[in-house]
């Protein structure tokens, strides 16, 4: 669950805060747990909602490495680009750059948050399409579409890297 949060928000300290918030909600709200759901799915649902809420609050729908989606001029792109790997200021920054600086991690960061949740649950956590649909409260067809689109986008980003 921490891995999902970390890859969603790409900030270790923030991911720990959200994981803590998630576990406190789970432990304090254990009476509202419905046994027909897998317990781990319930935890992932709360964690994912916390991450998506955070990203919406911060209005960063896509953590773009190439600047904010609305950036039009080169100056705007430069000002809003994420800089990974250079100018690491603290040991934590260095850890993050090392952990999330690989091509595949950078490609995942470019995905829409909804696609990111689905692809991480499917291929990193090993959930089935049906479990993802239950966890994220999405129709099965939507989950399939998101995952296929996410993989297509990832392939595009990784092909660009190789060219």
């Amino acid at each position: 669950m921490f891995s999902l949060l970390y890859r969603m928000v790409r900030d270790r300290a923030l991911a720990e805060d959200l994981a803590q918030e998630t576990f406190i909600k789970v432990l304090n709200g254990i009476k509202s747990y419905k046994p027909e759901f897998k317990f781990s799915s319930w935890i992932f649902k709360i964690a994912n909602n916390a991450a998506i809420d955070h990203l919406r609050r911060k209005s960063i729908d896509t953590l773009s490495l190439d600047g904010a989606p609305g950036a039009e001029t080169p100056d705007q792109v430069r000002a809003t680009s994420l800089q990974l790997g250079d100018r690491a200021e603290s040991p934590l920054d260095e850890v993050q750059s090392r952990e999330l600086g690989t091509a595949i991690e950078r490609a995942i960061a470019r995905l829409r948050p909804e696609y990111r949740s689905c692809i991480l649950l499917r291929h990193v956590e090993g959930y089935s399409y049906e479990e993802i649909a239950d966890t994220l409260d999405l129709p099965l067809g939507t989950v399939k579409t998101y995952i296929h689109r996410a993989r297509n986008e990832l392939r595009g980003y990784l092909d660009d890297r190789r060219e």
């Binding site: 891995s3 991911a15 576990f23 406190i24 595949i104 692809i119 990784l158």
Partner: protein, 80 residues
């Protein structure tokens, strides 16, 4: 019954990438370079994804969480 000459759909390509596609359908890849290229690209991405490491929070995380959880006492009250 699926015609062996039909191109693989996205679900079938994912099954193939995971080694789960029935042999009868997988045989299509031997004859169709279009599907073969598509399937190999898909498998590369899936392999990169499944090999991603799992990360853990820093030491002391569990203690910090438990310090904020309300625990019921025998008298029925809650203690933090």
């Amino acid at each position: 019954m699926t015609d062996i000459s039909m191109h693989l759909n996205t679900d079938e390509i994912e099954l193939w990438a995971q080694g789960l596609l029935p042999a009868a359908r997988a045989m299509h890849l031997a004859d169709c370079s279009l599907c073969r290229v598509e399937a190999q690209r898909e498998r590369k991405v899936i392999l990169e994804l499944v090999q991603l490491p799992k990360y853990a929070p820093s030491a002391g995380f569990a203690d910090r969480v438990m310090a904020q959880v309300k625990i019921p006492t025998p008298s029925g009250d809650w203690q933090v």
